[in-house]
């Protein structure tokens, strides 16, 4: 653990300034800290300054009609506890409640998970499947970016110097589900993550996978194969096959490439089936 200066700004402007006044990589924002502090302890990151976001007004969960805006420093447990989230964004609920452990989720945040952009992130795939958007604030103003554009590669996002994620927005509730495969069911990193959602307005499927490649990815070919409504068994099979060939696969100590391909296909079939059969799927 290296030494660092801890600053606790009172306002967003102060936070941005605290991040900006040092060189790249020298200052890091602290939300829940469950990833950052570990990275610091183990020498993967060595910021001179850590900027706590605890006093910023971002521990929020707001409904605008059915669209949901989650403040970036809201603990995941609060998201999990919201009964409307469970009903309107069931895939998001499933993904969130499977992150780490309860105590971890009392501190871990959507913002932190998103910005970390880990290849096996349990949240990014469902954010992709829900067409979530990221609201950013920074020294040059605010902007909004689709998560799909924001997450660029393993551990790399489009976050610019001095920028912070203020919130993540989910435009419309979707029948959705999230499945994972891990070595053990609790408190583990996933080998493969599949998130599936159906947009009732656009009559369009979204399929996202994580854990198989450096970056969680939307699989457009697999989604297209599912069609514009209730897919038949054949369509599901074609989607699964597309997913298990198109996604970029890696072999690591959690699973081989071959096995990941197999898992993606199997999990996709199951996830689509569950979305269609049980989650209030439109006729």
């Amino acid at each position: 653990m290296s030494g660092f200066d801890l600053v606790v700004p009172e306002t967003v402007e102060e936070a941005i300034a605290a991040l900006q006044t040092l060189g790249p990589g020298e200052a890091a924002p602290l939300a829940g800290g469950t990833d950052l502090l570990l990275d610091v302890d183990e020498g993967r990151l060595a910021p001179r300054r850590i900027v706590s976001l605890r006093r910023l007004p971002w521990r929020t969960l707001d409904w605008n009609g059915n669209s949901l805006t989650v403040g970036s420093t809201l603990p995941l447990r609060s998201l999990e506890d919201d009964p409307q989230v469970r009903v309107k964004y069931p895939g998001l609920y499933e993904a969130v409640r499977n992150v780490g452990s309860v105590a971890l989720r009392h501190r871990a945040t959507v913002g932190g998970n998103l910005v970390r952009a880990a290849p096996a992130s349990d949240l990014i795939p469902i954010l992709l499947a829900l067409d979530a958007e990221v609201d950013l604030v920074g020294p040059h103003g605010d902007r909004t970016v689709l998560v799909d554009r924001f997450v660029q590669a393993s551990r790399r996002t489009d976050l610019r110097p001095g920028e912070l994620v203020r919130s993540v927005r989910f435009p419309e509730p979707r029948p959705s589900d999230f499945r994972w495969q891990r070595v053990r069911p609790a408190n583990d990193i996933s080998q493969v993550v599949v998130a599936v959602a159906f947009s009732p307005a656009g009559r369009r499927w979204r399929v996202a996978v994580g854990g198989v490649s450096p970056r969680p990815t939307l699989l457009t070919e697999a989604a297209d194969a599912l069609g514009s409504g209730r897919p038949d068994a054949d369509a599901i099979r074609r989607a699964a096959e597309s997913a298990s060939t198109r996604a970029l696969f890696v072999t690591d100590r959690r699973a081989s490439e071959e096995y990941r391909r197999r898992l993606v296909g199997t999990l996709l079939e199951r996830t689509v089936a569950s979305v269609v059969e049980t989650k209030g799927f439109p006729a």
Binding site: R184, P185, A186, D188, R254, Y259, R262, T266, L267
Partner: protein, 734 residues
Amino acid sequence: MTAAARPDAGVKLAGTAVFGTDVDVPGMLWAAFVPAPLAHGRIRSLDLRAARALPGVTVLGPEDLARFFGPGERDQERSLFAQGEVVYRNQPLAVVAAPSALEARAAVAAVTVEIDPLPIIADLETAFPEWPGSDVGASPLVAAHVHARHGNVEDEFRGADRVLSETYRTASVHQVALEPHACVAEIRGEVWYVRTSTQSPFGVREDTASLLGIPESSIVVDGTWVGGGFGGKGSSFLEPYALLLARATGRPVRFALGYRDEFRLGRTTLPAVVRMETAVKDGRIRARRVRLLLDVGTSLPGRDFATGYSIGFLLGPYRTDAFEVEGYAVRTNKPPFGPHRAPFAPQCAFVVESHLDHVARELNLDGEEFRASHLWREGESTLLGQTVGPFGIAAAFERARATARAWRAEAPPGHGVGIGCGFWSTSTGAGGEVRLRLDPQRLVVLEGEREIGSGSVLAGLTAVASRVTGLPRDRVAIEYGDTSVAPYDSGVYGSRTLGALGRAIEEASVALRRTLAERLGARGQAELSVERGEIYAEAGERRAALTLLLTPDEHDAGGLVADGRHYAPSRLIDDRRVLSGTFYPYTDFTGAAHVAEVAVDPGTGAVRVVRYAAFHDAGTVVDAGAAQAQVEGGVAMGLGAALTEEAIWSDDGRLVNAGLLDYRIPTLGEVPPISVEFIEGFAGAGPFGAKGLGEPPIVPVPATVAIATRAACGAHVTELPLSAERVARALKLL
């Protein structure tokens, strides 16, 4: 079942129990290892000057040790630091002490070392890539060779109806005690004093004395509460370093390992490859060949305990007319092989049980019947010529079969039920002693072991003392004493505590009760009882309160004292069967049969254990709560070895998953309901015929899960752990 009456529950639930990691002495320094940055190399230079220049920092390297050595005989083979050559990654090159943990880390970072890399033998595949297809021969990588034979092996193989041959692979597993190794050392005048979390205070004393050449009498080891041992805390580790630093600095020194280093530096079960060949004729095993290649890391030649001992477990408790076993301990660039809970026996049971189940299937025989028909019976001869003592495995197996039948009848599609057997022999260690002190209100058992969690000390010994004296349990207190005051015991390991110290208590109790009878003018042993809070002794026609039977000196000394000891007789194997190496005799014969119902996901290969039953040959159950708790805990640990635990080493000798996220022990949701049943009546070596229960429960588990998995889906996995991916491959899903 009754909850274990545990006198330690109060302090542990209040948070006041002091573990090794909790010891806090004013002015103490914080120690850390300087780790070798690669797995094999020649040390060209080690520059400690920059580290030494840091304020408050002391550094000890190989050159500094000589001034601390005493005049006594030293174990020259074991060195505290790498000498000239680094043989495993993170091997200690030096050790630092600094005023804080942060400063200790900075001191470590300030050390510069130049090492010329040497080729790394990371694993068995690197050492002998063709094995078992090739010969090991006279390779310099062999640390030990064991070879034994009996009967006409060649003829039996030639004349067999069928010969079944298989190769199995098992993974390295760690103890994963939740508390890392930790101690605080101080020099008090002439005394080298250390408080440490250990399974063996006297072992630490002995080790330290032999490493430093100082007399044992100048070392005092005071055991703290222990946050789990499981074999990993059975001998010294950090203590000699902490003591040296305390000596060098004149300050107390705390040495605790970070959890990643627990994994990286841990001495534990390492990987193995086993070749099993079985010759069958007329439905019976006629001959077996077992060949073992065991990774022993950097175990010193001649010090490997694992190979000769494991070979027996690969034969299992099964009758064979002829056999040949050969094992090679192979040196790789890893820390030395060290004891785990029932070291390597769960892996051996997995191999022999899976193999015999496979043999039966290939012969179209019932796997359970096949194994049952070959199980040892009392009076028969083991493969190394010992006589099998009272052995309840057949009874356990029958109970298991009844349960398996019932579960099979109810099992839904995709589920499978299987039985696995385990065999264990209680370790003896050198032996153990206790002192009993009977005062007018209670019996105190003074002994030298801390309760490490299993209950063997606080529950088991209390139960034994209560039974042998006739006093109720609440009148018995176990008093732990450090090595300067307590009688000797070799350590809490090998499931030996109840047996060894229990027998010592028996002996002391007999002496105590005889003395009291004499004082009452009678022969034999006095009966003890409690009345209105006072202890009474009765013998012959007379009865008196104990307080009246004690001499003034005894009153002053706190009561009537009696000593007991137990040094188990050594047992012999038939040396004529041994061609090479050291084999280990069994002390007693403890059996177990487990049943698992598993569900296998046909799409992913993931195995889920739905329910579990354990039948244990316990001799006599001395404390029901503690016994049940041991089985529940041992089964859960075994499930980890069966399904998720695997230490993964890279080609350059780095432990890749050195942490609790990637080295996966079971969580609460993964342990199914476990029903536990004890079979009593087959006497073991302990008091009242008790058999040790610390280790037997883990032994059958991976075997049971593997056999149930095969029953569920047909996948025959010959590797541990049974990861979803391995099962998927065996199912040809990939």
